[in-house]
Amino acid sequence: MPPLRLIDGTLVKQGAEAHVYKSTFLYPNVPCLIKVRPTKPYRHATLDMRLTKHRCISEARLLNRCRSMGVLCPTVYFVDEKRGEIIMEWIEGPSVRDFLHNYIDDASDHGKDENKAIDVQLDALMENIGQTIGKLHDIDTIHGDLTTSNLMLKPRESPGTQVLDTADTSLANSDVVLIDFGLGQVSSSDEDKAVDLYVLERAFLSTHPRATRLFDIIIDSYKRNCLGSSVVLRRLQEVRLRGRKKSMVG
């Protein structure tokens, strides 16, 4: 099934899961993101079609659920589930991953006082992330793939807002936006929410190994802001131990 010319845009990312293009939707001043899940030749064709369609539909539904209920994520503009394509709102701004990466590189260039100022901003960002995930779990939604690449920093809308770059650390004017819900689901289970956090913890610490302190702030913020946090965090302890305690025979 060839796509209906739906890929009029510049390839922005060729991720493991999908190809992502930047384009415009309806009007030249409405930037959009086109996400295409290509067939994976290593998979059995039936399995491949089933997975692609399921993930496309699942993602579109979850994005819409979050957007209406008040968790920041891109607006869904158009879905073609047979081709595994979603057109959604373009989120301007770096991913938290790129932002942290640049910060860690920049840190060595600054004097001590500037570092302190940046630290305060970073703590605020972690606080925001904890709140956002807390909100997500409070609407019984599991992201399924929480990594710092799936958290975007979007400058708040006001005329003349500059796009965030590494030098501009005015994080006070940014929102944390969740993207990439292909592995997500609706669930009220504490186990699922704990695993969601566990995935983020592992992804966070493996990508930013010197950032343990920052991750702790995320958990602390989640604890204070998410209504169901105490049960989930207790469960998280169990999930962590499961990883450590697994009988690794053979």
Binding site: E17, L51, V249
Partner: protein, 349 residues
């Protein structure tokens, strides 16, 4: 030039290997012998019986290895053994043997992490320098990438390992454990053709097999007690071969997916598959397709090295030994739980 003898017995395979390292030359395998404890069909291998097996065979294997390699006791520089992870009693048996040799021959001991053994042997044999590693065996399913002197775990099975899943599935279908349940599943899968819709579970960089196991246990159980299962399209009867086929296609697709995610995350194009399940040709094929799709390649070793063996312990042990690492006798314990990322990989940048 340094020579090490390595002893491996963390599960049902007892391996003894002797390796020689010469500067600026590839490692030389002087001997690599193994003996496997095979349990009857429908049964798994128990720690007690496995330990007995290892104790019965270790002296014979060590003698044979020395003879084959032509190495004298004097030439051996260190005794390497699997410190963990693995099954308690079998690990202990082999550790006792290692300690005995160390005391008898007056040689230093080197405790080795089993997973690191697989990784280092894989790198040595295939020449893959810095690949993403998929380590898949009866007890382990991990996606590993090297960074900052640690083998960091990027993704793993959250509940049971793929090999364990395959073994238990073989048990349900009464498939023979000789030479290995996974091998027999692989051969049966080649004759299967209907793809049954079974649970596919990837969560971020991790995956989960308990869903598959639960489903397929129930399904196979129904089949074996007489219920007729037919393919919805062709109306043909579903066979155990179809089950093996479906299990592989689904479970391996999950492994390839989490490996691909890690590769995208760290920006790598090379994959190295190690561990017993890494012998599976379908898994290698699928991984290869994915790697080539990304402009890279897959590396795998043959059954001499993917299945647990002593030479990988000798090799990894020798790498550590050469950085000055030894394990004092009173610290030469074993541990059932020994995370891959706990090892300080001093021998790499």
């Amino acid at each position: 030039m340094t020579i090490a003898i390595g002893l491996e017995g963390s599960a049902n395979k007892l391996g003894v290997g002797i390796i020689r390292h010469t500067p600026s030359k590839p490692a030389e395998i002087l001997s690599n012998i193994r003996h496997t404890f095979v349990s009857p069909p429908g049964e798994g291998f128990l720690p007690k019986d496995t330990a007995i097996h290892h104790r019965s065979w270790v002296v014979k294997l060590v003698k044979q290895a020395l003879k084959e390699s032509g190495v004298t006791i004097r030439e051996v520089d260190c005794i390497c053994y699997t410190k963990g992870p693995g099954m308690g009693a079998p690990l202990q048996s082999v550790a006792v043997a290692a300690r005995t040799l160390a005391l008898l021959w007056d040689k230093p001991l080197v405790g080795v992490n089993h997973c690191v053994g697989h990784i280092e042997m894989g790198r040595e044999i295939t020449g893959a320098d810095n690949p993403v590693v998929l380590y898949v065996s009866g007890g382990n399913t991990q996606v590993i990438a090297y960074a900052d002197q640690r083998y960091r775990i990027f993704g793993e099975a959250l509940d049971i390992a793929i090999g364990n899943c395959l073994d238990r599935f073989a048990r349900t279908l009464n498939i023979s454990n000789d030479p290995a349940p996974g091998y027999n599943i692989e051969q049966m899968a080649k004759k299967g053709k209907h793809l049954i819709d079974i649970p596919y579970t990837v969560k971020g960089m991790d995956c989960s097999f308990s869903g598959i196991l639960g489903f397929i246990d129930a399904y196979a159980g129904e089949m074996l007690s007489g219920a007729e299962k037919r393919d919805p399209d062709t109306r043909e009867l579903i066979t155990p071969e179809d089950l093996c086929f479906s299990l592989q296609e689904t479970a391996f697709a999950m492994l390839v997916e989490i490996t691909e995610r890690a590769m995208a995350h760290v920006g790598s194009t090379q994959v190295l598959i190690v561990g017993g399940v890494g012998c599976n040709e379908r898994l290698q094929e699928m991984m290869g397709i994915m790697a080539r799709d990304r402009g890279g390649s897959v590396y795998a070793t043959d059954e001499r090295f993917c299945i647990d063996n002593g030479i990988m312990i000798a090799h990894a042990g020798l790498l550590a030994f050469q950085t000055g690492f030894t394990t004092p006798i009173d610290e030469s314990t074993c541990t059932q739980r020994f995370r891959t990322d706990e090892v300080f990989v001093k021998w790499r940048e």
